[in-house]
Symmetry: C2
Subunit: 373 residues, 2 copies
């Protein structure tokens, strides 16, 4: 299992001292809107907007309208076509955006593009920060999640007795307990690390960002999907199409999606100017032609704190050696090694999230923008 193994295997082996905060997640009371903080200077946008990439029509036998009364059944109850696998993208471009390479952020499991917006405690997220730093900034929502919709085929057929129940896609439900452990807020539920950077007092606001997931369970096993450099997940091709349509872009994945930019490059599609993997393992089983493809694109892996070691894990060491040995430019940054301590799996929302962004922007300037396309 490429993607999550580090989080599972190493994060929880960390032996840091614990602080028993005794914080019960459900007690955290948020003021919601009143906590959202305004910046000191206006944000000047040349353009903002949203659009879709990809999508295909599928046939729907049971549309669900028949139980809403005879009028609805007669008008809309007939079989028809619906669109699935599309990818919703929102963007904003600051005045002067032409000086920077476009950057595309893709969220992880059980989350939406909200990941990159206002933090749970009301501070500026990376969407606005990268825009203010001059980047044309894009948020892609995984095909099958949130505004990208999901493939509903099968559910109503099971309900109607036309398919066996165990043929139904499983819905993955992210619990609060899940978040606390996989996002590395602390050693056990309700206990935070003493130096935790995540705004724990507002963790309830993060729980509201977590939504049911129908993507992860569509593949035979999580490990199989993520360990493989090739995949049929439609988001991967959609990201590559987006990079091409933008005339070149940096693709950023996080957690569950962190391997997708690499998988997009390995599809051989043009336009991917840089790969950034946040909180992830690496691909250790690449073929020679795959290594040659990756050697053409600058790559950065960033991990937070409370791993067992700030050194690259074995799979990352292998990929670093292979890609850089083939003339590539792959970097690995453990945040504690550059002086940032206590960062969680959700470091784009941590209290020092803008400092983490600055580390990434410095890498982009040096490795992507000061390099001929």
């Amino acid at each position: 299992m490429m993607m999550w193994s580090g989080i599972l295997g190493r994060g929880f082996a960390a032996g840091a001292a614990l602080l028993g905060l005794g914080l019960l997640a459900g007690q955290a009371h948020a003021q919601d809107i009143s906590e959202v903080q305004a910046p000191k200077t206006p944000l000047v946008l040349e353009q903002e907007g949203s659009f879709f990439v990809g999508g295909r029509a599928v046939h729907i036998a049971i549309t669900g309208w028949d139980e809403l009364g005879p009028d609805f059944s007669r008008m809309f109850g007939m079989p028809g076509e619906t669109t699935v696998d599309q990818m919703y993208v929102q963007f904003q471009k600051p005045v002067g955006w032409q000086k920077h390479v476009p950057i595309v952020f893709l969220h992880g499991c059980c989350l939406s593009s909200k990941t990159w917006e206002t933090t749970p405690d009301g501070r500026m997220g990376w969407y606005e920060y990268f825009t203010r730093k001059g980047f044309p900034t894009y948020l892609a929502e995984q095909s099958g999640r949130a505004r990208s919709g999901f493939d509903p085929v099968g559910f109503d057929e099971v309900r109607a007795g036309q398919r066996p129940p165990d043929s139904q896609k499983k819905i993955l439900i992210p619990t609060h307990e899940f978040a606390w452990s996989i996002f590395r807020f602390g050693p056990k539920y309700g206990e935070a690390w003493p130096d935790e950077q995540f705004p724990i007092s507002q963790v309830d606001q993060l729980y509201k960002q977590m939504i049911p997931d129908m993507i992860l369970t569509e593949v035979p096993s999580l490990g199989q999907e993520f360990a493989s450099p090739t995949t049929n997940n439609p988001t991967v091709e959609n990201m590559a199409l987006l990079a091409k349509d933008l005339g070149g872009a940096i693709l950023v994945g996080h957690s569950q999606s962190s391997g997708m930019p690499t998988q997009a490059v390995l599809k051989g599609m043009p336009g991917i100017r840089g790969i950034i993997q946040l909180e992830t393992g690496c691909f250790a089983n690449l073929t020679r032609p795959q290594i040659a493809l990756l050697a053409k694109v600058p790559m950065l892996v960033v991990v937070g704190d409370h791993w067992s070691t700030p050194q690259p894990a074995a799979d990352c060491q292998t990929e670093l050696r292979q890609v850089n040995g083939a003339g590539g430019d792959m970097s690995f940054i453990a945040l504690p090694k550059v002086g940032l301590h206590g960062n969680s799996h959700m470091f784009m929302q941590d209290k020092n999230n803008l400092q983490v962004a600055d580390v990434i922007i410095a890498w982009i300037e040096e490795h992507v923008e000061h390099r001929a396309p």
Copy 2:
């Protein structure tokens, strides 16, 4: 049935001449991003961001992690809590926003807040337009849809054989055929009205906005939910809370959600400065105390073209008479009566969408902003 009856009953009785375009929806090819048009002047924001309103924790017995391998099952497969019924809200406030009353837009069935953003053919949507006109502008995503997530309880239990299949919530699937008829693009699928204002050549981009809906089917019948001025739909209370938190706001509903601002007022909560119902019927069965509540809030109903008549329908005539008879300020605008012809159910995306917005803004200035709060 308050909400949809007009669309169903009257829209299709219209006897306008037809233009046989012979357009097959699937043939419309979109350039997606390359069609998104940039405005001529920058957008200057004092603030942008997002947050949640509402939400509650529910217990989850089957989380879905157990099929992703023993590590996941051990770590995350235990029962736990997840958050449902929260409402995701995004916003932007232009410099000088203090001069206007905040406005909150709520999308309709099978759609998300994408409704109000860039149109299917790449023009400016109402989100940016109202911001540019000076309004602090909020997009609320219905609880149970898109970034607000949905209540997943029951699906995995059916799959595991722990609940009978027919106990499973029905998923409502919006087909292309459904959209063409209920959004009043033309008299039959593939045929547009001769004066149709919707950008039909890009209808495929609208189909990508349409996503499965788990909200409508959670109530015993559509008519019962919408005909009643009271409801337990969490979005209604969340909208009212938002208006209160904003220190006063205009609430706008569309289609399926058009009755929700009225339902929010009828909960007796403070802060709702105006009600705007887009493409809707009205409440004809109000009690005297309910009429008194509505008489305190300016109300506007707007309908497009290709209804059987530009006069208010019987239910709206009743509500207009009752509310205005009690000293209220309720208006009804059929767009053809103010010189705008050919508008669809999706007039916020029609080719003349900004002219329609201007009609609404003129009403706001006269009936809400020039009136003491």
